[in-house]
């Protein structure tokens, strides 16, 4: 009895954290009670066969490409030593600050038939017929990879940095070359991080609308928007979204199952870091080339294109309002980081203390929001909230207690970005052996005190990763911000969207550049601190 009541307190808290997600999912499930069979049968016959295949190919392509790229870059910058390593170490994260559809437009603008690159080829008297078509599967996969690989890069780097010297040394003493120890020791031990990153990348790809729209590449999300906005069938849209979430839930559950029995705690404490492997000869050149090429493609080129666009319209957009948009973006991102990361931390902590089916399900559900197309999520959460508002009003509370307030916005952000904050924290918690908990309890440190005094210092890299990821993601976020912001409140992302949806790319370029810059400042600050921290130890 005593045990039961103690458990229920924590579990209640967990349930409370999962509540916004549950409300959102409930909206999706409710749509099944009112099926629009006419629209569904049309979709099944003419739309879904293509879009499902497209979606599968895209998710696979982007996951494989960004998995390979992110993991190798992380290994190089975390474990190896080569010229410019220090610079690449943080610079390779920067592309994440560029919204996917902005990168897409910059790429298409540069490389399409009418763009400057192909025009230059033709003007020099050659044919540009051989030039690969940028409006293609390869094009959209490349662009999504370039914006999404940083998730895996950051998480995998975090894993490699905390792996400790011992494991690699053991590998080397068994006669493994550096390359072998990468595949046989480092990568398997980093699996929760890499897979966590892959899940984020996969979910973001599923939920993406803006980037695929630039390429006119139809995915399941495109079909959801089509049902809703073009076929006027909200119920078909929500049902498709429910199916999408279900598929993600199954994939996540399967993945967790296959590594249920494995442990990832390090043998010795964090301070024991491996010496960097000094690369020589061709390896050295290849490392610089890979990092350099990625940085140029994913950051320098798109930024160059944005600058080129913004110059003629510089004075039009460079107004006092630009500053207020930036302030709006930064303050939202900051508040959201506090809320989302603290919720994710509490959840990870409770789930650790009370392993079991209840915690497992609560956690898995809470991290599904990232796979939902943003607009669907915003509406699926907003509709029940207005219902609650109406009920509160019936009870005598003032009208619109919730809607139009920051509360709704933050609830929606926490549904959307919980996975982003939770992944790095969950992975980092795996590094902390259960003997640490035992030892700390034996010294009379338990509960919140244990989290604060024992776990927190060991979670620092995970925490920093979570903060950076959520911050940058909120800076770029659009549909939730658009729908739930107070009147007259604008962010940079909203401004970019307003201009680009009218095709005014030249004017949108400057606010887009400011998103990148504003997103970068805290990122560089945090990452350089994290690096200094890892060097100092």
């Amino acid at each position: 009895m005593n045990r039961l009541s103690r458990l229920s307190g924590w579990h209640f808290l967990l349930l409370l954290i999962a509540l916004p997600v549950l409300i959102t999912l409930f909206s999706l499930v409710a749509a099944f009670f009112n099926p629009d069979l006419e629209t569904l049968s049309h979709l099944v016959r003419y739309v879904l066969p293509d879009t499902l295949l497209n979606t599968l190919l895209l998710v696979l392509g982007v996951c494989i490409a960004s998995g390979l790229l992110g993991t190798s870059l992380a290994w190089l910058t975390a474990i190896c030593d080569f010229p410019l390593r220090g610079f690449f170490s943080w610079a390779l994260f920067l592309p994440m600050a560029i919204p996917g559809y902005v990168m897409a437009f910059a790429f298409v603008g540069l490389f399409e038939f009418a763009g400057p690159v192909q025009s230059l080829i033709r003007d020099s008297g050659f044919s540009s017929g051989w030039f690969p078509n940028v409006n293609s599967y390869a094009g959209v996969t490349l662009v999504l990879t370039l914006v999404l690989y940083p998730y895996i890069y950051l998480l995998a780097k975090n894993a490699f940095q905390t792996q400790g010297k011992r494991s690699l040394e053991v590998g080397q003493s068994l006669g493994l070359s550096p390359r072998q120890s990468f595949f046989k020791v480092a990568v398997p031990m980093a699996r929760p991080w890499i897979v966590g990153g892959l899940l984020l990348v996969g979910m973001e790809t599923l939920a993406d609308f803006g980037t695929v729209a630039v390429f006119n590449y139809d995915t399941l999300t495109t079909a959801i928007y089509k049902s809703w906005f073009s076929l006027y069938s909200t119920s078909a849209a929500l049902q498709l979204a429910a199916v999408l979430v279900l598929v993600v839930a199954v994939v996540v559950a399967l993945e967790k199952r296959t590594r249920r029995e494995q442990r990832y705690a390090q043998a010795r404490n964090l301070a024991m870091r491996p010496h960097k492997i000094k690369l020589r000869g061709w390896n050295r050149l290849a490392a610089v080339a890979l990092c350099g090429l990625t940085f140029v493609l994913a950051f320098v080129l798109p930024l160059y294109q944005l600058l080129a666009w913004s110059l003629p319209e510089f004075s039009v957009e460079l107004t006092a309002e630009l500053w207020s948009y930036a302030k709006g973006s930064l303050s939202l991102a900051t508040i959201a980081v506090f809320i989302v990361v603290s919720l994710a931390l509490s959840m990870a902590f409770i789930a650790r203390l009370h392993e079991g089916m209840f915690s497992y399900i609560a956690v898995r559900l809470s991290t599904l929001g990232y796979a939902l197309p943003g607009t669907v999520l915003a509406v699926a959460l907003y509709v029940p909230i207005t219902y609650i508002d109406h009920q509160l009003q019936a009870l005598g509370v003032a009208a619109n207690t919730l809607q139009g307030t920051l509360v709704v916005m933050m609830l929606a952000y926490s549904v959307r970005f919980m996975a982003v904050a939770y992944s790095p924290l969950e992975a980092n918690f795996l590094r902390v052996t259960s003997s640490v908990d035992l030892a700390s309890r034996s010294m009379g440190i338990s509960g919140i005190k244990m989290l604060y005094r024992v776990h927190m210092p060991m979670l620092k890299t995970g925490l920093l990763t979570a903060i950076v990821l959520v911050f940058v993601d909120v800076m770029k976020e659009l549909p939730i911000t658009l729908m739930t912001r107070p009147f007259g409140f604008n962010t940079l992302a909203v401004r970019v969207f307003e201009l680009t949806s009218e095709g005014l790319w030249e004017r949108a370029a400057l606010p887009a550049i400011v998103i990148v810059l504003a997103g970068l400042m805290p990122v560089i600050l945090l990452i350089s601190r994290a690096d200094a921290h890892s060097r100092a130890s």
Partner: protein, 353 residues
């Protein structure tokens, strides 16, 4: 040492964040105060799917002349309509402004408007550009027409929208994606003119004639024609106008199709507005929408986006009238939304992406 160092960095971040969030909160408080003002008649709330830079100049001018302050939220039309349905009687909004007759018709069918009931609007706006049940009115006009290369296409080769499906345009046609509402409305017009089976053949022939995959926007269609990837395309007039402002010697021209076809003409569409059913300031909202169709407001609309005035008697901006006069389709826009899902499904069937 290590511990202290990283604690310091964390607290620095916390400090910066704290300051920023404070400034954020201040902002929200200001807004809350403004929100209360909205309940007095000196202020209106507009939900708009027209983007901020297109509507703000109009709102600002209205405040100057009437003293009514206008607050607004912009979003996609579909989202705003769901939002209004969810907010119900508690909505702070008085007016919905959105683009496309189909969307306006859908909004009206969702029961979110109240009748405009304005003699002034009935007098100024032609009947086919208003809702037959008086739930919304058009505010400005845009034409979706044929654009062609002046270097490679003699205008006499062009005739109708359906004609773009002829074999002579094989591998020479460029179209924007079927996911854009402008193309859905255009195909809806074809359905109402030709019937669904014939319209399906026309669109199928368009798809056969495509030189490149459908583009993500109208400007890309014109870029492709300029660069010789195709010869003809279909665009909204103001996109052409915008490009012309930047490059006055554009090797492109507009062609007005369906001029000799009885009961037909150039496909036109509107940006429009209606008073919301749960508006607490319906009178002020009506006065505002009435002002929007006056020549002063129409001139601002035309100025920011090179559109045609909704009032046939009003003067057309010189840069716009330079494109020539045309006969517009006389079809009523009231029922466009009923045909739009059929148009979308038709385009899915023939593989128009």
């Amino acid at each position: 040492m290590k511990q202290e160092f990283s604690n310091k960095s964390l607290s620095l971040v916390f400090l910066i964040s704290g300051l920023l969030s404070l400034s954020g909160c201040e902002k929200t408080n200001d807004l809350a105060v403004n929100g209360n003002d909205a309940e007095q008649a000196k202020s209106l709330v507009v939900y708009s799917s027209r983007n901020e830079h297109l509507i703000k100049p109009v709102f600002e001018r209205y405040r100057e002349i009437s003293g009514v302050d206008i607050q607004y939220a912009t979003d996609k039309a579909g989202v705003l309509i769901e939002r209004l349905k969810a907010e119900g009687v508690n909505t702070p909004a008085d007016v919905l402004i959105t683009v496309d007759a189909g969307t306006l018709g859908y909004a009206a069918a969702q029961g979110i408007f109240q009748p405009l009931d304005s003699k002034f609007i009935r007098d100024v706006v032609p009947a086919h550009l208003r809702d037959e049940n008086d739930f919304w009115t058009g505010l400005s006009l845009r034409a979706r027409t044929i654009v062609y290369s002046t270097e490679r296409v003699p205008p006499k080769a062009l005739s109708t929208y359906a004609g773009l499906g002829d074999a002579q345009w094989h591998n020479k046609l460029c179209l924007r994606t079927s996911k854009k509402v402008y193309n859905q409305s255009l195909v809806a017009m074809l359905i109402s003119e030709y019937g669904e089976p014939k319209a399906e053949t026309i669109v199928q022939n368009w798809v056969k004639n495509l030189a490149i995959a459908p583009t993500s926007n109208d400007t890309k269609v014109m870029d492709a024609i300029i660069n010789g990837q195709c010869d003809v395309g279909i665009v909204n007039t103001y996109y052409f106008g915008r490009l012309q402002l930047k490059q006055p010697d554009l090797p492109l021209a507009l062609f007005w199709p369906n001029q000799k076809m009885a009961g037909s003409g150039v496909h036109i569409n509107v940006a429009g507005a209606g008073i919301l059913k749960h508006s607490k300031n319906a009178e002020a909202a009506k006065a505002f929408i009435e002002w929007l169709v006056t020549s002063e407001a129409q001139a601002i609309f035309a100025g920011v986006n090179q559109e045609y005035p909704i009032d046939p008697a009003a003067e057309i901006t010189p840069s716009v009238s330079a494109w020539g006069q045309f006969k517009a389709s006389p079809q009523s826009l009231s029922n466009a939304y009923k045909l739009q899902p059929a148009a979308v499904k038709l385009m899915d069937r023939v593989g128009y992406k």
